[in-house]
């Protein structure tokens, strides 16, 4: 999978420190471009991260995520 983020196509940003690892974003992403990290964040959760490319900017992950600031979706 191409993991380079092209800034002229949609992408998301997940702030790992603000994630609780609930996996709801992963569940709803139609493109399967979010995964769970092996690392722990400072609250002891395995945070989600954007694996790169193919995001359509559909925002479904943003609304599925219960946290106000964990996910940002950018759509050029």
């Amino acid at each position: 999978m191409d993991t380079t983020v092209k800034k002229d196509s949609p992408f998301i940003e997940i702030t790992g420190e603000l994630c609780k690892g609930c996996k709801l974003c992963i569940d709803v992403c139609p493109k399967g471009v979010i995964a769970i990290s092996d690392q722990l964040n400072s609250s002891s959760y395995h945070p989600a991260y954007y694996v790169g490319a193919d995001c359509t900017g559909c925002t479904l992950c943003f609304y599925a995520c219960p946290e106000p600031a964990a996910i940002k979706v950018f759509k050029p």
Binding site: K23, Y63, C65, A69
Partner: protein, 470 residues
């Protein structure tokens, strides 16, 4: 570039939350409250109402709504959010008031408030987060718990014959004529969420446009209470909960109420209030000085006119443009039991209407004296009907007036004006107001005009007793 990110209706940093993690919520991973908060915040942003919204948080896991929403906030006692919201909205009709509640809060302890606010068609927005369980207290059965659902208090599952059926609040509220808009949505999957966003926005927009009471029930999840991981909880919601609580619009009269709140509410105007309270606002009342604040406890038997006496004093203070409060306390019986009232008359604004440490006390019977004497502050004035009470209060500590008020009243014409004799004595003993001013006020506030003369005579006799000893 279009960015979808945290709404500005949220605080940037959740300072009130404290602790090290001030940008995340206090909710468990995967909890539905976070999703609902986000949808509300987004709608607030879209409608441009952040500066006039008041968010009323319930008791339940969402008790800390004020950590997150950058607007007016209030946290109500368990179940009382719609009553509190009613007060806020009526006092501030231009505000947008949100009553945010869980199912334990809204459909158990707060059922009465819920139904009556809806039945009055308050122009508020209720967001009902139904997660079929008491989350905060550790997963007990809620009124909305499904049949066969296991909870801490239904370990073998909810049974109809033992626990009743899940209560369908959206259906019930939709039967009330005053409700404008009632919809049930969910957050089990993305489709649900997109519909829920619309319903939430509409419910707030209705209020902005004065269309009346809107109620959105949001089927939510409590992964912790349900003992499920987050995706499974969403699936259980989708597969099980929706069957018991069908989604959809149960009532929508939003467009028919476009002329504003269907009920024409006429606010009281000062002239009307003055008339109601017997205040003659036209009379040219010269500014009256109140030398010291009065914190009064008047107590006696029901029927001795104790409560009326307090009311008279409050009306005197009101006519002098002082701040006043009057609050009665009496037993279930209207006559014969004990009764008392607390009256504050103050140059300053009054906080509580209760008087716990009076500086003026009137005792018209022995039980009252025995009950309240100890509460009177040192140096306080205590007036006792010496014809009825054969006990003298502590004269070292208190300024004591023993006056046979009922006997004097009888001489004036009827024992019923004993309270006014006491009032005259109290006015003399405290020098709070001039006798003239009090007489003038009595002329206005005594309802039966043929009794005014007798009241004035009683007042004079009480006053003279203290000033001249007769």
């Amino acid at each position: 570039m279009k960015t979808t990110t945290k709404a500005t209706a949220f605080y940037n940093v959740f300072e009130r939350k404290g602790g090290p993690h001030k940008e995340t919520t206090h909710y468990c991973p995967g909890c539905g409250h976070g999703n609902v908060h986000k949808m509300i915040a987004e709608a607030m942003d879209d409608l441009g109402i952040n500066d006039k919204t008041v968010f009323v948080s319930p008791v339940g896991c969402s008790v800390f709504g004020y950590y997150y929403f950058d607007c007016g906030n209030f946290q109500a006692a368990h179940g009382r959010a719609p009553a509190v919201a009613t007060g806020i909205k009526r006092a501030n009709p231009d505000s947008v008031v949100i009553s945010y509640q869980g199912d334990g809060d809204l459909a158990a302890i707060g059922t009465a408030e819920t139904l009556h606010a809806a039945n009055r068609g308050e122009n508020i927005t209720v967001f009902f987060v139904n997660n079929a369980i008491y989350g905060m207290t550790g997963g007990q059965m809620a009124p909305t718990t499904l049949i066969e659902q296991k909870t801490a208090t239904t370990p073998r599952g909810r049974v109809e014959s033992e626990h009743g059926n899940p209560i369908k609040m959206a259906e019930i509220i939709s039967t009330l004529p005053a409700a404008t808009y009632v919809e049930r949505v969910a957050i089990g999957n993305s489709k649900h969420i997109m519909k829920a966003r619309k319903a939430i926005r509409k419910a707030l927009k209705n209020q902005v446009e004065n269309r009346g009471y809107s109620f959105v029930e949001i089927l939510s999840v409590c992964p912790t209470g349900w003992k499920m991981d987050s995706p499974d909880a969403r699936d259980w919601l989708t597969d099980q909960m929706i069957e018991a609580f069908p989604l959809g619009v149960y009532k929508d009269e939003s467009s028919e109420r476009e002329d504003g709140w269907y009920r024409d509410v006429k606010p009281f105007v000062p002239a009307e209030l003055n008339k109601y309270f017997g205040v003659n606002a036209e009379a040219d009342v010269a500014p009256v000085d109140l030398k010291k604040d009065l914190f009064c406890k008047f107590a006696g038997f029901g029927g001795q006119g104790i409560l009326t006496m307090g009311l008279f004093l409050a009306q005197i203070g009101m006519r002098a443009d002082h701040n006043v409060s009057w609050i009665p306390a009496y037993g279930p019986e209207m006559r014969g039991g004990t009764a008392n009232c607390s009256v504050n008359v103050s140059n300053k604004r009054i906080g509580t209407p209760l008087v716990e440490r009076p500086n003026v006390m009137v005792a018209m019977n022995l039980p009252s004296l025995e009950m309240f004497e100890k509460d009177v502050v040192d140096g306080g004035v205590i007036l006792v009907d010496s014809g009825i009470v054969d006990k003298t209060p502590d004269t070292d500590r208190l300024d004591v007036v023993m006056i046979p008020a009922t006997e004097i009243a009888d001489e004036v014409g009827t024992p019923k004006v004993a309270n006014v004799v006491m009032l005259g004595a109290m006015i003399a003993a405290t020098d709070a107001y001039s006798l003239d001013f009090v007489s003038e006020t009595l002329k206005v506030v005594v309802k039966k005009k043929n009794l005014i003369d007798m009241n004035l005579a009683a007042l004079q006799r009480g006053y003279d007793f203290v000033k001249n000893g007769s």
